[in-house]
Every structure is written in C-alpha cells, then in structure tokens.
Symmetry: C2
Subunit: 246 residues, 2 copies
C-alpha cells in the first residue's frame, strides 16, 4: 500500500556484515553493525529493521536487539514508533537544514581545537585516509569513497581534545550521511568537493585552526548546496504531514 514513499526493503543478511553463522553477539556489535551500515549508506533511509530478523541474524534474543535499537534511536540513527518496526531515520527538510547548521558550528570548533594537537603518526593516518578517499574516487568505487570520506571526519572527531564536542560531531556526521542519501541530487556522484579534505589535513597538521575551521565551514555549506532541499520536492512525506496531534 505504501502511503509514504518507502524505501522499505528488509536488510539482506549480506548488508549487515558481521552476522555470520549466528554466533553470539553483544548489543554493541549489533549497534556497530547497523551504525556502520547506515553511515556508509548500505542501509538507506527508511530501511526496516525487524527485531526477530536481527535476533536470528546475530544469534541472540530480542532483548539484546532491543537494547541496540534503543541506543540507535537515542542517537537519531533510526526511528521507533510504538508497535511499528524500527526504520532508518528519514529527517525532513527542516531538520536537515538544522543538522547542517549544527554541524557547521560544532565541526568548525572541533577543527580549531584539534589543529596542531596531532602527533606525527596521527597526521600520517589522516593523510592515508585522504589518499584512500582520492584513490576510491579516481577508480570510481563510490561505495568506498563515501566510506573513506566519512572516516576523515570521524577521525578528526575522535581525536579532538574535547571529546564532548567530538562525540557531538560524530553523531552529526552520521546524520549528515543519512540526509545526503535522502536528498542528493540524482545526477551528482557528488560530495567529493575539490581536494577539501587534503587541504584540511594540511591545515590541521600545520596548526592553523582558524583556517581549518573556515575551510570546514565552507566545505559544509558547499555540501548542503549540493542537496535538493526544495520544500515541495521529492520525498513528499505524507506520513508526517497527515499525522494529527495524537
């Protein structure tokens, strides 16, 4: 029936990698698997996540799955409504704009704080991530490219001296990934903006926090502008429109 444009297929067992053989898994394992799959856009927005299917996949009872799903809901990775299957979040246009605005604020500050604090070894790691991204881009492996691009931002979030802000940035990076999957303009392979990540790495290494912050800010503005955020357009979310008070 599909009142709303639902991407709703079930995740194939292959989509959620570490489910092999139904070995015992902790709720952290399940959380990580789904998180990673959403981050890399293997699980598109709207994907449904039935508890029983997951519990069989991971070889645990529904209790564990439910704990993982509750945490994923708290982190805005999925949405849970009473008596309905959990599904990967589908933020509307307004929330998308708010996510970008919040991320610009937070990520800029993270750049300021992180610049000049990375050890040589860490800088090398960072440069490798950037190189991998470029390689994936050049050889057209789009899946890998998205993955590597996310890893650049996550690396910086993870190594920010202020871990409270770092954690916020981590969450915002994920939500950004979701809205990109939702709203990216059809033709665009997109999101490989110049060599922004390479230049960012250089500024971070050099310790120029202000320039890094400015670059990150502009990077995110450019990214948002690549999206198709005309209110009326695409995923006409009838569901949320037609949902009265209750």
């Amino acid at each position: 029936m599909a009142t709303a444009p639902d991407s709703g297929k079930f995740p194939s067992a292959a989509t959620l990698a570490p489910a092999r053989g139904a070995r015992k898994a902790s709720d952290q394992t399940i959380y990580d698997s789904i998180y990673e799959a959403v981050l890399t856009q293997r699980l598109p927005p709207g994907s449904r996540l039935p508890e029983v299917a997951l519990s069989e996949m991971f070889g645990v009872s529904r209790s564990i799955v439910r704990k993982a799903l509750t945490r994923l809901t708290s982190d805005h990775v999925i949405e849970q409504r009473p008596n309905q299957m959990a599904m990967v979040a589908r933020p509307d246009v307004e929330e998308t704009r708010q996510i970008f605005a919040a991320r610009r604020l937070v990520e800029s500050e993270v750049m300021r704080l992180t610049a000049g604090t990375l050890s040589k070894a860490r800088v090398q790691e960072l440069r490798k991530l950037v190189k991998d991204e470029k390689a994936a881009h050049d050889s057209g492996r789009d899946q890998d490219r998205v993955h590597c691009s996310m890893e650049v931002h996550r690396f910086l979030a993870r190594h920010c001296p202020n871990q409270v802000l770092g954690r916020m940035m981590r969450d915002l990076v994920l939500r950004t990934s979701i809205v990109i999957a939702l709203y990216k303009s059809p033709g665009i392979t997109a999101c490989f903006l110049g060599d922004d990540h390479g230049r960012l790495a250089t500024l971070i290494a050099k310790g120029d926090g202000e320039a890094a912050a400015a670059l990150a800010h502009d990077h995110l503005v450019a990214l948002e502008n690549l999206l198709d955020l005309n209110d009326d357009s695409r995923p006409i979310d009838l569901a949320s429109i037609l949902r009265p008070p209750s």
Copy 2:
C-alpha cells in the same frame, strides 16, 4: 567497603516523586522522573539506581526500567558498567571542562538564533521563570532556585528555532547541573550570578542576539570559575583510576 568516596545511598521513594502507589508507568515516565531528579540535584552524583527497586517503585517489570536506564545512559545522565548497578554520572575534572566549553559554544549560538523569535506570550513565560527564580533566591529556598534556574536555560533550549542545537543544549544543561553538584565550592550557595538571567531575557526579547550570546558565554565562564576544579582536589576517584583495561 567503599573504595571510592561514594555518595551511594539508594534513592528514597520520596526522591522520585511520581512513584505513588505503584501505578503502571511507561519508560518515558521513569526516564523523566530520574532526569528531573538529577537535574534538580535531588539525586546527587553517584546515587545508585537498582533496577528492582525502580521496577517496584513504578509498578512495572524490569524490562521497562532497563529501557529507561539505557536511554539515560545514552544521554549521559547515568553510568552503567557491566554487572553493576546504574548510578548517576560523576564526570571527572577534564570532562567537566569539556562540558563547559561545549556548552559555551552551543548555548551562545542558541541565543543568537533564538533572540527576536519569541512571541509576546513566550517572552512573558520567560520573564515569569526569571521572577520565580529570584523569588526563590530571596526567600532562601535553594532547591526551588536551582530548579527555576535550570528551567530558564531549558526554556531557551526548547524554543530555539534549531531544535537539533536545542536538544544538544538541553543535554549540556543537565550535565552542567551534575558537575555543579559535584564540584561546587563548599561555602557557595552560588550559581545566582547577578541578574544574568533577567538581563538575558531582556536581550532575547529585544532581539539582540550577539549581546545575548556574549552574555551567555560570560555567564558560563563565571559559573565554571565558581567551581573547585583543581585536579588533585576533592573527589579522588580511585575507582576509575584503579580500573585496568577490562
């Protein structure tokens, strides 16, 4: 035995208000009750929260309680370690500094965005909160004063046009409340700084976002300076120091 300076008493039934008569309660009810109790410092950092006690108090099974506790952990209200009772969070000095830094960043921006967007009715509500706080302060009802002070910030977070940032601010306000309870200098009744909240309300109403942001920033700097954050000092958290990898 108490290896760490544990505030650890169990919450009396009276501490968690809406537990009357063991009526059925949703996980949201439990979440809210504990959240509110922590926010207003009725449940001090380190307080233990046994699942069975809570389930009896609220008249539900442990499943519901566990869901509430999982969410509270996600929001950094409580800490859960494997096989140990949940307890109200006790951030260390470093995390405290990070919380304040993050909150300065976020709350300043929230002020910028919120200034000039409140309806007349909303401004009235805000002024009433400020008035209530002052009244509580003047009559020495410290509990009420803390509550009202928190409500001012939460009101602004709730009515920020950017709800993603608003939600972040809400979480940071709570964590601030926790660290104030932990690290406030003994003698200080504190945290009623001049008439900052009153002036803030005026600036917000007038629409001067920049001034409001600056005031909020300075307000938070002053607040942090009231705390006793000498690394070596008070709550010598042996527990976390002596906890090896596992």
